[in-house]
Amino acid sequence: MSVEELLVFEHGGTSWGVARAEVRGFGAAGGGVAVTLRHGRVRADRVVGMLPAPVVARPGRVLRRFWPVHARGLAVVGGRVVVVIDPLAPPPGLAPEIEGGADA
């Protein structure tokens, strides 16, 4: 079984993840962190780190019914529940408000 590695970060009390292969860098921006992806940026309050995610499960029907936000999947990573984003269509709540931030 291949284990995917995710960059895990927090924003708004939720843990988010994005495939490591999509991450180009991250840096401080406006009191938070801007994560630069291959196709755009997302914002974070804090970066947790690169963590292995053995299983990324597709969101089920019930979750989609009550949270109609596109996500690639869900995973439990290091004991925390992580929403794995689609790097091509991250949730609107992760859109960067502040431009800038140096890539790490």
Binding site: G60, R61, V62, R64, R65, F66, W67, V76, V81
Partner: protein
């Protein structure tokens, strides 16, 4: 509705959700645990408390009182999460239902169900002289 029925009855877990008592068919209950910590999701419907971790898997947790439109009741010192199977049998998935209190196991006589509906609340019945909303989680998640 698939039932955990005995002789004309549906064996159910009785829980309190706000001011309502709700009966969850036992064959849809996986486990009852002390209230699970949830992590909120932005822009979620008010019924969705967030995601919890259960058995190493992510679990969406819904507030049962909101799902059934129950008025807010007294705060419970022992809230629970009912981990239950939701959705049609061939596509069932685990969800958490946050409830104020697990009360007992009861048998709801099928013949006593009134106001039969095709939704989450399949009807109401009297249990020990008090009204109970009988749930059918097969309909949870349907648009």
């Amino acid at each position: 509705m698939t039932t955990a029925s005995g002789e004309g009855g549906i064996r159910c877990l009785l829980v309190r959700a706000g001011e309502y008592r709700c009966a969850v068919p036992l064959n849809q209950v996986r486990r009852v645990v002390a209230s699970l910590a949830t992590h909120p999701l932005p822009n979620a419907a008010p019924e969705l408390l967030g995601l919890a971790e259960f058995g190493g898997e992510p679990l969406p947790v819904l507030e049962l009182a909101r799902l059934v439109g129950a008025p807010e009741g007294a705060a419970s010192p022992h809230p629970v999460t009912v981990v239950a199977w939701a959705g049609p049998p061939r596509e069932r998935e685990l969800v958490g239902l946050a409830a104020d209190q697990a009360l007992s196991i009861v048998e709801v006589p099928v013949g006593s169900l009134a106001g039969g509906q095709a939704g989450l609340v399949s009807g109401e019945a009297l249990v020990d002289g008090a009204p109970v909303r009988v749930l059918n989680l097969e309909h949870l998640g349907a648009a």
